[in-house]
C-alpha cells in the first residue's frame, strides 16, 4: 500500500507552483499545507526576502518571499492569487510565498535530470533537478539549501541551467 504523499516506486510527487512565468516543483514530502496570504508581522534585521512571521494556529512561523529570494521584482497586483506553502525543513516549519499553486503532479523519476548529469554549475546545489513533462519544464528545488543559506540566487541562473 502506498501512503498518501509518499513515493510510488519510480515516481516522484511534486507540488507545482508558479513564480514569474516559470513552473517550479517541490517534493510533496516537504509540504505541510498551502495557505492564502495572511497577515505577516515584519521582522527587523533579517534578509530582505524574509517577509516576516505568521501565526499558524498558535505557532509562529517564518515566511520567505520566493520572488525576492530569486531576485525577481515583487508583484503586488496579484495578491489574491498568491499562496503560502508551508514546508518542513529539518524539523522546522517555514512558509514560502509563491505566485500561485497549480497542482500536485506525479512524475516518473526517470524524466528528472539531476544537476550532476548535466552541468555542475555553481547554483546546482539549490536544485534537485529539472523535470520534463509533456512540453513543460519543471524546475525542482532543493529547499534546505535555499532556506538555510543566505547566498544569493537569481532566477536567471536557474533558468540558464534549465535550458541546458
Amino acid at each position: 500500500m502506498v501512503r498518501e504523499g509518499s513515493l510510488t516506486k519510480g515516481y516522484i510527487q511534486l507540488v507545482i507552483f508558479n513564480l514569474y512565468e516559470e513552473e517550479f516543483g517541490i517534493n510533496v514530502n516537504h509540504v505541510e499545507e498551502v495557505l492564502r496570504l495572511t497577515r505577516i508581522t515584519h521582522i527587523p534585521h533579517t534578509a530582505e526576502y524574509v517577509e516576516g512571521v505568521i501565526n499558524l494556529r498558535g505557532e509562529v512561523i517564518p515566511v520567505i518571499n520566493l520572488r525576492k529570494r530569486f531576485g525577481i521584482p515583487d508583484d503586488i497586483d496579484n495578491e489574491m492569487k498568491k499562496r503560502i506553502i508551508i514546508v518542513t525543513i529539518e524539523g522546522d516549519k517555514v512558509g514560502l510565498i509563491v505566485d500561485s499553486v497549480r497542482e500536485v503532479l506525479q512524475l516518473p523519476s526517470k524524466v528528472v535530470e539531476s544537476p550532476t548529469e548535466t552541468v555542475a554549475g555553481s547554483k546546482s546545489e539549490f536544485l534537485e533537478g529539472v523535470g520534463k513533462y509533456d512540453d513543460r519544464l519543471l524546475i525542482i528545488l532543493k529547499l534546505d539549501k535555499i532556506i538555510t543559506t543566505e547566498e544569493r540566487i537569481s532566477l536567471s541562473e536557474l533558468q540558464e541551467w534549465q535550458e541546458k
Binding site: T41, P44, H45, V53, N55, G58, E59, V60, D92, V94
Partner: protein, 649 residues
C-alpha cells in the same frame, strides 16, 4: 509493560546509582576510614549488577560484579584504598555511565573486558582470596553464608523465624510502617535477611507485604503480638524457617524482585513523553493569556454574575498554571552532582588543593533552564580552578588557607533564582583588564578614563576577551566569558561579577524561574506591536521634545538627577530612519528600562497594556536576531515580537 519501558526505568535507576556512587566515592576518597560510606556503596553496585543481569546487559553486570568484589575487598581490609584503587573505581564509573548512554541511544555497547581484567588483577594481586567466577556461584555462596548463620544461631539456642508481614492495602505510610516493624523486630533479635532489602522497605518500595528472616530468643507468639500492635498491619505470620534446597529452575528471586520493584516504581511515578508535557504546558499558557483577555472584555460589560464566574475561572486558571509549572521544575541538584567530579579531576591535574562547597541543591528551576545552565556553570568553575585559585605554596605565602574554596550556591529570590560562584583565589586585577581592553581594541584609553572600576571589570564579558596569559590549547579554553554571558542572556538572565584582588572573585547569575510565560508591556511602534518584558521595565514616562538634550551625539533626558539615554525603538530596529520628536508640543511615551546594569529610555509610538504571554521561539531560521528575544501570539491572532532589552541598550 513492554521491555522498552523496563529499559527506561532501568536506565533512570542505574544512572541514579552511578551518581550516588560517584558522590560516595568522592567522599570516601577524602575520608577513607569511613566504613559507612563503603557500605552505602555496596548496595547500589549490587543493585546495578542484578538489574543489569535481569535486563541482559552483560557488560554492565560483569563490570558491576568486579566493582562489588573490589569494594568487598576494601571493606574486608584486603585492599588499601589508595589512589590507584580510587582512580580505577572512578574509571569504572565513567565507563559504566558511558555504557548506560549507549544503551539509552540504542548503540552497541563497548566491550569492557579490559577494564574488568584490570579490576580482577587488582583484586587478585592484593587479596590472596580466590573468587568464584560467575554470579550464580556467588549467589550460592551467599546462600551458604545464610545457612551458616542460621546453623550458628540454632546452636546458641536461638530460633530462626520467617516473619511475613502484610500491610493494609490502602496503607498510606508504608515506609513508616515497615520501619516500625523493623524496629520492633530488631529489639527482639537479629534480622538475617530482609526481602526486599531494608533500604527498599524504608523507602516504601515494595508491594503490600514483605518477609524477614529473624534469629531471636523470643517466641513466635511474642513477635507476632509486637508486630500486630503496629497500626495498618493486615496480617502477620511467624513460622520456623528452614533453608530450602536451592531449586532455581524458575527465574531467580532477584529477578522477580527487580521486576516487582520496577513495577512498583512505575506506580509512584508516571513517565510522560517530554513533548506531551510541553504541549500541555503550552496550552495552559494560551489559557492564561486568553483568561486575561476575557477578564478585560468583561470589565466593559459590568455584569456582576459574569464577574463572579470569571473570578472563579481566574482562580482556577492560576492554580492550574502553577500546578503545570511545577511539572517543569526540577532540582538544581541534577547539575550540582556533576561538579564534585569536575573539581576533583581538574584540581588534581592542575596540582591545586580545592574544596568545593555547594549550597541550595534543593533549589528548583525550570527544566529547560537547568538543561542549559550546566555548561556555563561548569565553565565558571573550571575558570575558578584554572585562573582563580592559587597553588598551595602561593597561598601559603599570601597567608591564605592552603586549601582553596569554591562555593556554589543557589537560592530563590522572588520570581528569580540566584546562583553564585565564589572562589577565594587571587581575584581579577582591573589594571590587567584595562591593558587587555586597549590591546584588543575594545576601548580607547580615553573611554576607560570615564569608566568606574566596576564597569571596567565587567569588560571581561566582552567578546573574545581572555585573561589567561598562556594559551593552554589542550584544555577547554575555547569559549570565554562572553559565551557564558550570551547563554545566560538567552535565558533572560543576567550575569555580573565582583572581585577583590588577592581575595577572590564572585559571579552572580540571576535567572527567571521559568521561561515559558512572562509578563510584558505591549507597545506600538510603526503599526506593529512589540512586547517588552516587565522584568526589565523600571517606569513609563512621557517626554516633551523640549526636555530632550543632546550629549555626544545622543539624546538624553534628566530624570530625577539621573541622565538617561533615549533609544528610538523604531530606528534601533531599522524600521525607519525618520527623526523622532517631530511635533514639539506632543508628549512622547518613553519606557525606562534597565538591563545588565545599564538604564535607557525606549521611545515608542503608543503604550498599550500589560499582559502575560507565552514565549515562542522564532525557529532555527531566525535564531539569534539582534534585538529580538522571541515572539508571541496575541489574543487577536496577531504575532508580536518580544524585544531583547539587554542587547538593545
Amino acid at each position: 509493560m513492554g521491555l522498552s519501558d523496563y529499559k527506561e526505568v532501568f536506565l533512570s535507576d542505574a544512572n541514579e546509582h552511578v551518581k550516588t556512587l560517584n558522590n560516595n566515592l568522592l567522599k570516601l576518597e577524602k575520608d577513607p576510614e569511613n566504613l559507612k560510606l563503603l557500605d552505602e556503596m555496596v548496595e547500589p553496585v549490587k543493585s546495578l549488577k542484578s538489574m543489569a543481569g535481569t535486563m541482559g546487559f552483560d557488560q554492565i553486570t560483569s563490570l558491576a560484579y568486579q566493582m562489588e568484589k573490589l569494594l568487598d575487598a576494601v571493606k574486608n581490609k584486603k585492599i588499601v584504598l589508595e589512589k590507584r584503587v580510587t582512580n580505577l573505581l572512578f574509571e569504572s564509573l565513567d565507563v559504566m555511565e558511558n555504557l548506560l548512554d549507549q544503551i539509552e541511544v540504542g548503540e552497541e555497547v563497548d566491550d569492557v573486558t579490559d577494564l574488568v581484567e584490570k579490576l580482577k588483577k587488582i583484586i587478585a594481586a592484593e587479596s590472596r582470596e580466590k573468587y568464584e567466577k560467575d554470579s550464580t556461584e556467588e549467589r550460592k555462596s551467599e546462600e551458604e553464608n545464610e545457612k551458616e548463620s542460621i546453623k550458628k544461631a540454632r546452636e546458641k539456642g536461638k530460633q530462626v523465624y520467617l516473619v511475613t508481614v502484610k500491610l493494609d492495602r490502602d496503607c498510606l505510610l508504608k515506609s513508616v510502617r515497615a520501619y516500625m516493624v523493623l524496629k520492633e523486630v530488631k529489639a527482639l533479635g537479629n534480622i538475617i535477611k530482609s526481602i526486599p532489602g531494608e533500604q527498599d522497605l524504608e523507602s516504601g518500595i515494595f508491594t503490600d507485604s514483605f518477609q524477614l528472616i529473624v534469629q531471636t530468643k523470643a517466641t513466635d507468639e511474642l513477635i507476632k503480638n509486637k508486630i500486630e500492635k503496629i497500626p495498618e498491619i493486615e496480617k502477620v505470620t511467624v513460622e520456623s524457617y528452614e533453608v530450602s534446597e536451592p531449586k532455581r529452575e524458575k527465574p531467580s528471586y532477584m529477578e522477580d524482585r527487580q521486576r516487582e520493584l520496577l513495577e512498583k516504581k512505575r506506580e509512584r511515578f508516571v513517565r510522560v513523553d517530554r513533548e506531551k508535557l510541553d504541549y500541555i504546558i503550552g496550552l495552559v499558557g494560551e489559557l492564561v493569556v486568553n483568561r486575561t483577555r476575557v477578564l478585560e472584555l468583561s470589565k466593559s460589560l459590568g455584569d456582576s454574575n459574569l464577574k463572579d464566574a470569571l473570578e472563579q475561572l481566574d482562580l482556577i486558571t492560576s492554580n492550574l498554571q502553577n500546578a503545570v509549572m511545577k511539572l517543569r521544575m526540577v532540582n538544581i541538584k541534577q547539575i550540582y552532582d556533576r561538579f564534585p567530579r569536575l573539581v576533583r579531576d581538574l584540581s588534581q591535574r592542575k596540582n591545586k588543593k580545592i574544596n568545593l562547597v555547594m549550597v541550595g541543591e534543593e533549589t528548583e528551576l525550570d527544566r529547560s533552564i537547568v538543561n542549559v545552565i550546566e555548561e556555563p556553570l561548569s565553565h565558571l568553575i573550571k575558570n575558578a580552578i584554572d585562573h582563580g585559585i592559587e597553588r598551595a605554596p602561593d597561598r601559603n605565602r599570601l597567608n591564605k588557607k592552603e586549601v582553596g574554596t569554591i562555593k556554589l550556591s543557589a537560592r530563590h529570590e522572588g520570581s528569580h533564582v540566584l546562583i553564585e560562584i565564589e572562589d577565594d583565589g587571587h581575584g581579577i586585577d582591573s589594571r590587567i583588564v584595562r591593558t587587555k581592553a586597549i590591546e584588543k581594541g575594545l576601548k580607547t584609553p580615553q573611554e576607560l578614563e570615564k569608566m568606574s572600576e566596576d564597569e571596567i571589570i565587567q569588560l571581561v564579558f566582552e567578546k573574545n576577551f581572555s585573561l589567561s596569559e598562556e594559551d593552554e590549547g589542550t584544555f577547554h579554553r575555547g569559549e570565554g566569558l562572553d559565551k557564558v554571558k550570551s547563554i545566560i542572556e538567552t535565558l533572560n538572565g543576567e550575569i555580573s561579577l565582583e572581585t577583590t584582588i588577592k581575595k577572590g572573585t564572585k559571579f552572580n547569575i540571576k535567572l527567571p524561574l521559568t521561561l515559558a510565560i512572562i509578563k510584558v508591556l505591549l507597545a506600538k511602534v510603526d503599526e506593529s506591536i512589540y512586547a517588552i518584558p516587565v522584568e526589565s521595565i523600571r517606569e513609563n514616562i512621557h517626554v516633551y521634545p523640549k526636555d530632550v538634550k543632546r550629549m555626544q551625539g545622543q539624546q538624553v533626558i534628566h530624570l530625577r538627577e539621573e541622565m538617561i539615554r533615549l533609544i528610538s525603538v523604531r530606528s534601533k530596529l531599522g524600521l525607519d530612519k525618520g527623526e523622532e520628536f517631530m511635533d514639539k508640543d506632543t508628549a512622547y511615551p518613553v519606557i525606562i528600562v534597565k538591563a545588565g546594569g545599564k538604564k535607557a529610555g525606549f521611545i515608542v509610538d503608543e503604550l498599550l497594556y500589560q499582559q502575560e504571554i507565552v514565549i515562542k521561539s522564532l525557529g532555527k531560521l531566525l535564531e539569534g536576531l539582534r534585538g529580538i528575544a522571541g515572539a508571541t501570539v496575541l489574543a487577536n491572532g496577531e504575532v508580536a515580537l518580544i524585544l531583547d532589552v539587554s542587547s538593545m541598550i
